[in-house]
């Protein structure tokens, strides 16, 4: 007998491919800016990261796991783009290729494929690069990119008589410093608005993240805090909203955004250097499942048990802060690499004994 069919008998035209395509569309203007500023340098970094990622997909997803279909769903391209957007145009090609490959392998494939990862693959890839190429990645040299720049500033708004305004607007549209995806605050925002409009992300995460991060800066009023607006926008709009590694309910997303902003502030305050965005997002990624439980939407017709909920949120916040300070201490003493080694052992172990058996399950 034929299997029983379940309703519904119609379905929306949504597909993973369409979701991914929208994210890529939102990221394209940023690519254009990166290319505009660094031309061939950008292409080398992007090309090698993409090459590393695709080779890894073919080798592992395709040949070893026989899941060919997933390779073309676009998720690897997004991972690579996001990864490239967080690094310098001077990153050597082999480091970029290594990063792209690790992002896909340790960030996605070993978790069981697209959608099953608990951490943002691009940031995982980035951490791998930092840990395995510490000299390259954290040398000051890699960020002195002036000599290879093709464009130093734009004069698009110089027609405005007020010089301050003109400069402000010029810089809003284009500042060629920092990582490859951070040059245009306006287009980062526009990409976010596009994704919100297309319902590929919800406004909660970026909005709450920005609010809490900016309030943190405002409260501590430290002029020496070293952060980039582009970095925050890239992180808040494109990284923290990675679907599998972020919570699903509106309240959960709001809390998650708030906490990332707070943790990012703490990371800057306590000397995590360039890593503040990666650390804060990865730490909160780790709490996504728990946040989904604590911030489960209120079921229709039921009442919220407030005292219990408040206690849960309090404990959750306490654990997030504990983990943050643990990570910051590890960072201070230079022990982050061990965290990554543990991650590698954990994920390979898990894949072997659990995830690989569930490859055919959709969740």
């Amino acid at each position: 007998m034929q299997n029983k069919r379940f309703s519904p008998f119609v379905s929306s035209k949504n597909s993973i491919g369409k979701v991914m395509l929208d994210v890529i569309i939102a990221l394209l203007p940023l690519c254009a800016f990166a290319f505009y500023t660094y031309r061939i340098w950008f292409l080398i970094v992007l090309g090698s990261a993409l090459g590393g990622a695709i080779l890894t997909e073919i080798l592992f997803s395709g040949i070893l796991l026989k899941k060919w279909r997933g390779i073309l769903d676009g998720s690897a391209i997004i991972t690579v783009l996001l990864l490239v957007f967080t690094i310098s145009p001077l990153t050597p090609w082999y480091v970029a290729a290594f990063g792209g490959s690790c992002a896909v392998l340790f960030g996605k494939i070993l978790w069981g494929g697209v959608g099953k990862n608990k951490f943002n693959p691009a940031l995982v890839g980035r951490e791998f690069m930092t840990v395995f190429f510490p000299l390259v990645m954290s040398s000051g040299d890699i960020w002195s990119t002036k000599r290879i720049r093709y464009v130093y500033e734009v004069e698009w708004f110089d027609f405005i008589p007020n010089a301050h305004w003109a400069e402000f607007l010029n810089e809003l549209f284009f500042v060629p410093t920092g990582a490859l995806g951070e040059y245009s605050a306006v287009f980062l925002l526009l990409g976010g608005i596009y994704l919100i409009f297309r319902r590929r992300i919800s406004w909660h995460i970026p909005a709450f993240l920005l609010v809490s991060f900016l309030s943190f800066l405002w409260i501590f009023e430290d002029q020496n805090l070293n952060y980039s607006l582009g970095g925050i926008l890239l992180g808040g709009i494109f990284m923290a909203t990675d679907m599998p590694s972020s919570p699903s309910s509106p309240t959960g997303k709001s809390y998650y955004g708030l906490m990332i902003g707070l943790v990012a502030g703490l990371c800057i305050q306590f000397g995590a250097g360039f890593e503040y965005m990666s650390y804060s997002i990865l730490i909160l990624n780790g709490f996504s499942t728990k946040i989904n439980q604590v911030f489960m939407p209120r079921t229709w017709g039921t009442k919220t048990d407030w005292p219990k909920k408040i206690e849960e949120v309090f404990l959750l916040t306490l654990s997030v802060l504990t983990v943050t300070f643990a990570v910051l201490s590890l960072h201070y003493y230079g022990y982050i690499p061990y965290l990554i080694y543990i991650y590698i052992i954990y994920i390979i172990f898990k894949f072997n004994f659990s995830f690989s058996k569930k490859l055919h399950q959709p969740i």
Binding site: S12, I16, K18, G112, Q361
Partner: protein
């Protein structure tokens, strides 16, 4: 909640067409959550409108009557099969003057005439209306046919307006509600004017038309009550206990037939539609009409298409073409077969966004698959099985399968405890 495109805009313009009678009828014995016991034997001569089966034991499903006169030719656990003699010899019924109707008599009429919720679940209306008269705050008439493709309720509101209002007047006299509201989807707002014209014939009746967004599942009973009254009542409770009497327009029409013509529920209006059929429209058919007969009469070729009884979101797949139209079947839909490939859940949260019960549907797939504790932790028992989550899912996860089977597992776990 969300909007779903369909062919409603086409079928709603169609009048209610009649179908030629079939020579054999198959009267369904399953209704609501119960099975009816046959009151006739094979070989019995049957009159039109005679009671055929009843839930003698539990009284938890509406009685069913014969749509035609003829002979009982077979009885099995699911159906009583009748052979139509085309004589239309009717049983005589007594019509109670509406002035004499009090609540008790009225509920008895509902019971005797097999009135059940026509919106899908076939919940016996007499149970629904068993209330203290003084307690009725609102009489809510549900004209929100949120299932895509279906326009049978629309057709009833459009073409049987006077009958609906007459019945509502009787209900008003019996229950004396504080307000009477008819809910209609915004996409059918022309019905508002249409109703308001007919209100002139009923100057003593104060009815408010409430337009609601074209969203699925706006017509779900709980969602409908909340949209109109702002009261959120939990799943599983009886609306009447909160002072709300809610009925589908089709049910009101069935009550009309019982009260004014003495005819039990033996026919209903259905919509025939879908992307695999040309003769789309609204048809009046007898309960028990085999689907095969309808397809033949309308020259529909059902080879290689998906046939659905009911709406596309909550209906059932038709496996056996001899299975019949039931009281709760609002439509007969034919769709071209489509291949859906299941991908990984990407945790996009779309299912969470659309769930009218504010659940996290993807957890049920995980729960059904490996960790049954998730089923109760994420309140699976509050799911109304509307299918919205699976409709929106970009990865085509088998959400409904997990939900339906998961509920069975949940029941088993409860028993075990």
């Amino acid at each position: 909640m969300m909007q779903i495109p369909s062919l409603k805009y086409k079928t709603k313009k169609q009048p209610i067409a009649e179908l030629k009678d079939a020579s054999v009828y198959r009267i369904p014995l399953q209704s609501y959550r119960s099975t009816l016991q046959p009151l006739v034997k094979i070989g019995d001569q049957i009159l039109q409108y005679q009671v055929l089966a009843e839930d003698v034991e539990h009284q938890f499903a509406a009685k069913i009557h014969s749509p035609v006169s003829g002979k009982v030719i077979a009885i099995d656990e699911h159906y009583i099969s009748l052979e139509n003699d085309f004589q239309q010899q009717k049983i005589t019924t007594k019509i109670i003057e509406s002035q004499q109707l009090d609540l008790e008599r009225f509920v008895q009429v509902l019971k005797d005439f097999g009135i059940a919720g026509i919106g899908g679940a076939e919940f016996p209306t007499n149970i629904k209306y068993k209330v203290k008269e003084s307690n009725v705050k609102s009489l809510l008439i549900n004209g929100i046919e949120c299932e895509p493709y279906l326009t049978s309720d629309y057709a009833v509101m459009r073409h049987e307006t006077e009958k609906l209002l007459k019945t509502i007047a009787v209900l008003n006299q019996i229950f004396q509600p504080e307000e009477i509201v008819i809910g209609i989807e915004k996409q059918h707002k022309e019905l508002k004017k249409h109703f308001e014209k007919s209100f002139k014939n009923h100057p003593n009746l104060a009815v408010r038309i409430h337009l609601l967004p074209n969203e699925y599942p706006q017509g779900g009973e709980l969602q409908f009550i909340k949209s109109v009254t702002h009261k959120e009542i939990p799943k599983g409770s009886i609306p009447a206990n909160f002072g709300y009497l809610v009925s589908n327009v089709g049910t009101i029409l069935a009550i009309y037939e019982a009260l004014f013509n003495g005819i039990p529920t033996t026919e209903r209006v259905i919509t025939i539609s879908g992307n695999a059929v040309n003769t789309i429209g609204n048809y009046r058919v007898k309960i028990g009409t085999p689907i095969r007969h309808i397809l033949k009469e309308l020259n529909i070729d059902a080879e290689g298409v998906d046939i659905v009884l009911g709406g596309p979101m909550m209906g059932k797949e038709v496996v056996d073409l001899d299975s019949p139209i039931k009281k709760g079947s609002g439509g007969l839909l034919l769709f071209k077969k489509q291949q859906k490939s299941i991908e990984n859940c990407i945790e996009c949260g779309y299912c969470v966004d659309v769930c009218p019960q504010h659940l996290m549907p993807m957890q049920f797939v995980k729960g059904h698959q490996e960790d049954q504790n998730l089923l109760s932790q994420f309140n699976l028992d509050h799911c109304i099985e509307c299918g919205a989550c699976e409709y929106i899912c970009p990865s085509n996860l088998p959400l409904m399968q997990s939900i339906v089977l998961g509920k069975v597992e949940l029941q088993k776990m409860m028993y075990a405890k």
